[in-house]
Homo-oligomer: 136 residues x 2
């Protein structure tokens, strides 16, 4: 029975691994991973759009934000290579943060890491546009 | 032993449920669910911004897109209640689709469901702005 129990344990462990995989964002069989989430998407235009150093400093600053409590998923991004007329691609860098609810995004705004980022990096950008969306 | 085995099965099943939860986008212990993803975020301004009927027709059209192959996560959204100076909230509806790569997003553009949506709904909007981003 000992061996039988172990085999059963392994079987269940196998199920655990599978279930874990099904839960990820690449799952197309389960629930939409963004269901009921709060999306905070920010686009940055640099004062010196041709300064690779400024762009890198902003990217490094944005990467510090990803450690803030309540961020469930994120992308520090740049424009893709797509280039149709309706596509806006004049910004230098973007940040996309996913929160469980509006309260967590509000708390993020006041997190010391976020305040430090603004202090260190706000001189780099000429314009910021934010899109905060919730599920319809 | 039968009863003992059943108890163990129940225990393992409990673990399965827990692990499944850890695998979702709400997991903060695992890998970032948006790692290396292609983000396609679109904002729509209506020709008749005060028409609730037009807004609903657009939302219903957008919801048909979520069935398209290759979409790993999505949000059909509206502006959140946040309202700082830098926040753009003049659009009526938004769509956020997550793809594994640029090729899947390109295929989505030509999917018959997407082409049908444009045919049925493009008369509703005055302006569309698209942000396609990839991880820096």
């Amino acid at each position: 029975m000992r061996k039988s129990n172990r085999r059963q344990f392994i079987t269940e462990t196998g199920k655990v691994a599978v279930m874990g995989g099904l839960g990820t964002i690449t799952n197309t069989m389960g629930e939409n991973p963004l269901k009921k989430k709060f999306i905070h998407h920010v686009f940055f235009w640099l004062k010196n759009p041709n300064s690779e150093a400024d762009k890198q400093k902003l990217i490094e600053g944005l990467q510090t934000l990803t450690k803030i409590k309540g961020i469930r998923a994120f992308q520090i991004g740049v424009p893709a290579n797509t280039n149709r007329e309706v596509i806006e691609r004049s910004y230098a860098v973007s940040e996309l943060f996913v929160f469980d609810n509006p309260e967590d995004q509000a708390a993020y705004q006041n997190d010391p890491i976020h305040l430090k980022f603004v202090e260190n990096c706000s001189a780099l950008w000429e314009k910021v546009t934010v899109f905060d969306t919730v599920e319809v």
